[in-house]
C-alpha cells in the first residue's frame, strides 16, 4: 500500500470518529461484553497455521497459497479493518464480532463456518491470535468500548416494507444496489475496496451471499455499522431513526427468495402459443428451478473466480414446441465492447441416452453434445461439441432465441420444435433429457472455458396426468365408504 493511501485512510478514520462523536446520541450503544477466554497465543498460532494460513497467510496479510484462487480475496488482517461488526462505523470490531465471523463464516465467500470443525475454546484463541497481526497497534490503543444495541426486530409487515421501499429510493440505495436491488446501480461499476481490489455492490435478491448473514437483524446491523473497508457506509447519519433502518432492512429482506434447487427441470404443458416475452404471465406462472454453478477448474484455462453461482430455469411446451427460459442476474450488461460479451449455453446429448451421458464439459469424442449458446453480442449460435477442443458450428435448425437484459437481469428463451429429424435430441412428454448449463460474465473477463457451469440435470416435458392416477384413489375411497355403510347398516339393525 502506498503511504498516501495510508494517510488518507487515517484521515478517513479520524473523520469518521469525530463525526460519530458529534452524532453519538443518535445511536444506542452498550458497553462491549467481556471476552470469555483468556489468550494463549501459542495455541492460537498453531491453530491459525493449521486452519487459516492457507488463505490468510502466515503473517495475516491475506496472501496464503490459496489467496489468488478465491474471490473475494481473503482478509488482510494487518490493517485491522473488518466488515461485519456491532461497533460504530470506522471502529474496530469487538472480540465477540471476530468470534462470530470465525464461527459463522462469510456467506458468498470461501470463508466457511468454522463452528462445525473447531471447538469454541479454540475459536477464541483464533480471535486473540488474529488480533496480533494488527500492524498499527489499534487493538491495544483504541479497542472498541461500546457496541451498537440491536433491539428485537419488528414484524415484517407490508407497511414496513413499503416504508423501506420509499427510503430505498429517497436515500439512493439504488445508486449502487440498483432499482430492483440486483447490484446494477449506475455507480456500481469500477468500485474498489480499501486495498484497491475490485468490489461489487451486493445483489439483494441473493440473500445467501449476504456477508453478514441474511436475518433481518443482520441486515439492520449492516446499515447501522457499515462495512469498514468497503464503499458500504453506515446509514446512521442519513437515516437516524432506528425504526426507519428496520424498515429498510425489511425491504431488503423482502427482495430475496431462497434458492430452490432441483434435479429435474419440469416443462409444463400449455394449450396455446408459448409467449416470446419472457415477462409474460405464462412464464411467471411456470414452475422454476435453480441450478447451482461452479467455476470450470478442470480444463485449461482453469477458472477459479467465476461471478455466477446459480442459473434459474423454467420450461414450457405445447403440441408444437418446447421453450426453456433461462434467467440470471448480472450487474453489468456486456455486449462485447471492450470486454467479452455475456453468454449463456444449454447443452444436451445429441444421441438419445444409452445410459451413458457425455462428459459434462462439452461432451467427449464418443458422445457429442448439442450446445445452444446465446451471447449478448451475437445472439444464438449452435454447436456440436465432442469435447472442448472439438466444437463445430452447425445450422440453428429450428432453434430460436429471444430475450435480453433488463434491470440487472438476463432472461433468454431458447425454443425448438418438438418433432425434429435425425441428428437432433428427441424431446417428448415423459422423456428425461439430460441438460447442463454454462454461464459467462463478460465483465469478469469470462469467455470460452472461463465460465461457470453445472453438471448434468434433466429436462422433463411433464406429461398430462393419466386418469388412472386419479381413479385408483377415488375407487379405493369409495370402496371403503361402501364397506362402512354396509357395516353401519348391519350394526345398527342388530340389537347390541
Amino acid at each position: 500500500m502506498k503511504s498516501t493511501d495510508f494517510l488518507g485512510m487515517i484521515c478517513a478514520l479520524a473523520f469518521c470518529a469525530s463525526a460519530l462523536a458529534a452524532d453519538a446520541p443518535k445511536l444506542k450503544t452498550e458497553p462491549v461484553k467481556p471476552t470469555p477466554v483468556a489468550a494463549d497465543l501459542d495455541a492460537g498460532k498453531k491453530l491459525y497455521q493449521r486452519w487459516c494460513a492457507q488463505c490468510h497467510g502466515n503473517e495475516g496479510k491475506g496472501d496464503g497459497p490459496a489467496a489468488d484462487f478465491v474471490y473475494p480475496r481473503p482478509r488482510d488482517f494487518t490493517l485491522a479493518i473488518f466488515k461485519v461488526r456491532t461497533t460504530p462505523s470506522g471502529q474496530l470490531p469487538t472480540d465477540h464480532d471476530l468470534f462470530h465471523i470465525i464461527s459463522e463464516g462469510l456467506p458468498g465467500t470461501s470463508m466457511p463456518a468454522w463452528k462445525k470443525f473447531i471447538p469454541e475454546n479454540e475459536r477464541w484463541q483464533l480471535v486473540h491470535y488474529v488480533k496480533t497481526f494488527d500492524s498499527l497497534g489499534l487493538f491495544k490503543e483504541e479497542p472498541a468500548k461500546e457496541q451498537v444495541v440491536i433491539d428485537a426486530a419488528p414484524k415484517m409487515t407490508p407497511e414496513l416494507i413499503a416504508k423501506g421501499k420509499e427510503l430505498y429510493q429517497q436515500k439512493k440505495c439504488w445508486q449502487c444496489h440498483g432499482p430492483t436491488g440486483r447490484g446494477d446501480g449506475p455507480s456500481s461499476a469500477g468500485m474498489k475496496d480499501e486495498w484497491g481490489f475490485p468490489i461489487r455492490p451486493v445483489n439483494f435478491t441473493k440473500s445467501w451471499r449476504f456477508r453478514g448473514g441474511d436475518r433481518i437483524e443482520d441486515i439492520y446491523r449492516t446499515f447501522t455499522t457499515g462495512f469498514n473497508g468497503t464503499p458500504m457506509p453506515s446509514f446512521v447519519d442519513a437515516i437516524p431513526a432506528a425504526e426507519d433502518r428496520w424498515a429498510l432492512a425489511a425491504f431488503v429482506k423482502s427482495l430475496a427468495r431462497p434458492q430452490k434447487n432441483a434435479q429435474v427441470l419440469k416443462a409444463g404443458n400449455i394449450a396455446g402459443e408459448i409467449p416470446a416475452d419472457p415477462y409474460a404471465k405464462e412464464w411467471e406462472a411456470a414452475e422454476f428451478a435453480d441450478f447451482p454453478l461452479a467455476g470450470q477448474i478442470i480444463l485449461e484455462p482453469r477458472w477459479f473466480k467465476p461471478v455466477h453461482d446459480v442459473i434459474t430455469a423454467r420450461a414450457l411446451y405445447n403440441d408444437k414446441e418446447i421453450a426453456i427460459l433461462l434467467e440470471w442476474d448480472d450487474g453489468t450488461n456486456n455486449t462485447g465492447i471492450g470486454k467479452p460479451a455475456d453468454e449463456v449455453a444449454l447443452q444436451m446429448p445429441v444421441q438419445a441416452s444409452d445410459g451413458v451421458k457425455p462428459y459434462f464439459i462439452l461432451g467427449d469424442d464418443k458422445h457429442a453434445v448439442d450446445v445452444w449458446r446465446w451471447s449478448a453480442k451475437d445472439g444464438l449460435q449452435r454447436y456440436t461439441a465432442e469435447g472442448a477442443s472439438k466444437q463445430t458450428p452447425r445450422e440453428a435448425g429450428g432453434v430460436v432465441a429471444q430475450g435480453g437484459y433488463k434491470e440487472g437481469q438476463y432472461r433468454v428463451i431458447l425454443r425448438r420444435p418438438l418433432r425434429v429429424g435425425a441428428g437432433e435430441t428427441a424431446i417428448e412428454p415423459g422423456r428425461f433429457v439430460p441438460i447442463a448449463f454454462q454461464l459467462r460474465d463478460g465483465d469478469n473477463g469470462e469467455e470460452g472455458l472461463k465460465m461457470s457451469l453445472s453438471t448434468w440435470y434433466y429436462l422433463l416435458p411433464q406429461p398430462a396426468t393419466p386418469l388412472t392416477v386419479v381413479l385408483w384413489p377415488l375407487g379405493i375411497g369409495f370402496l371403503t365408504l361402501g364397506g362402512e355403510f354396509w357395516l353401519l347398516r348391519r350394526m345398527r339393525r342388530r340389537p347390541s
Binding site: 493449521r50 465467500t109 434447487n261 453438471t455 448434468w456 362402512e484 345398527r492 347390541s496
Partner: protein, 257 residues
C-alpha cells in the same frame, strides 16, 4: 385407562412413525419404514386382541360410531375420515413424482489392475505411497512433505473438498454427487492410498461404468500434477482430516483437548 385403549394405540402408532421418520439419521428408505410400520400395526392389534376385555375396550369407540351412539359430529368425522385416509394413501402410491431416474452407482468401485499415468502403466496392487515408505522413520521430513501437500490441496482441491476437508467447499453444491468428505469414515479412511492415487490421477473419466463416470466431476489430476505432487496431496488429505494421526501427533492431540 382401559376406556382409552384405542386412543393409546393410535398415539403409540403415531409415535413409532414419528420416531422412525424423524429420529433416525440418515433417514431410512420408504420401503423399510413401510415394513416397520406394518409390523408395528400388527403388533399393536395383536396386543389389543390378546385380552378379551381389552379388545372390547379397544373396539368400543368404533362400535359407538358404527352403532350410532357417538355424537353426530364424531360419527361424521370418523366415517368420512376413514375413506379419505384410504384414498389419500392410494394417491401417495399412484401420484406421479417425476423424480429424476434412479442411477445406481458404486461409490468405491474396484480399481482396474493397471492404469495409465503419464504414459506409463501402473500396477494398482503393488502401488504404495513412495513418500510415506521412504520417510517412515523421519517424521520431520514427512511433516514437511505433508505441508507441501497442504499447499497443493489448497491450490487445487479445496474449492470442492472444503477448507476443513469435509467435502463442503464453496463449489461443492454445484455437483451431484457431492465431493467426498475426507472426514467421513466411509471415504479415504477406509481406502488404501493406492486407490486414492488411482481416483485422483484418473478422476471421473477414469471410473468404470458401474460407478457412472459421467456423474463424477473429479478432474483427471495427472493432467495438472506430477506423481510426487499427487502423493504429497494424499499425505495431506490423510493428515488434515485426522486419518493418519501418527504423523501429526502433536496437532491431533491438540485438537482433542
Amino acid at each position: 385407562m382401559r376406556r382409552h385403549t384405542l386412543y393409546i394405540a393410535i398415539m403409540l402408532w403415531l409415535a413409532i412413525l414419528a420416531g422412525l421418520k424423524f429420529g433416525v439419521r440418515p433417514p431410512m428408505p420408504a420401503s423399510v419404514l413401510m415394513i416397520y410400520m406394518t409390523l408395528s400395526t400388527i403388533a399393536i392389534i395383536l396386543f389389543a386382541a390378546a385380552d378379551e376385555a381389552r379388545f372390547q375396550a379397544f373396539l368400543a369407540p368404533l362400535r359407538a360410531v358404527f352403532e350410532g351412539r357417538a355424537p353426530k359430529a364424531v360419527q361424521l368425522l370418523v366415517l368420512a375420515g376413514i375413506p379419505l385416509l384410504a384414498g389419500w394413501g392410494a394417491w401417495l402410491r399412484t401420484a406421479p413424482s417425476w423424480d429424476a431416474p434412479f442411477e445406481p452407482r458404486v461409490v468405491h468401485p474396484e480399481p482396474p489392475s493397471t492404469f495409465n499415468f503419464h504414459g506409463k502403466r501402473i500396477d494398482t496392487a503393488s502401488l504404495k505411497n513412495p513418500l510415506r515408505a521412504a520417510h517412515e522413520k523421519d517424521p520431520a521430513q514427512l511433516e514437511k512433505l505433508t505441508a507441501e501437500g497442504k499447499t497443493i490441496y489448497y491450490q487445487n482441491c479445496f474449492f470442492c473438498h472444503g477448507d476443513a476437508l469435509a467435502g463442503d467447499g464453496h463449489f461443492a453444491n454445484a455437483f451431484s454427487p457431492i465431493p467426498a468428505n475426507f472426514r467421513d469414515v466411509g471415504t479415504i479412511s477406509m481406502l488404501q492410498e493406492s486407490f486414492v492415487f488411482w481416483r485422483v490421477s484418473t478422476g471421473g473419466p477414469g471410473l468404470p461404468r458401474a460407478a457412472t463416470p459421467w456423474l463424477s466431476a473429479m478432474p483427471v489430476w495427472q493432467n495438472f500434477l506430477t506423481e510426487d505432487e499427487i502423493w504429497k496431496a494424499i499425505l495431506y488429505i490423510y493428515a488434515g482430516s485426522g486419518s493418519t494421526p501418527r504423523t501429526w501427533d502433536e496437532e491431533t492431540k491438540h485438537e482433542k483437548h
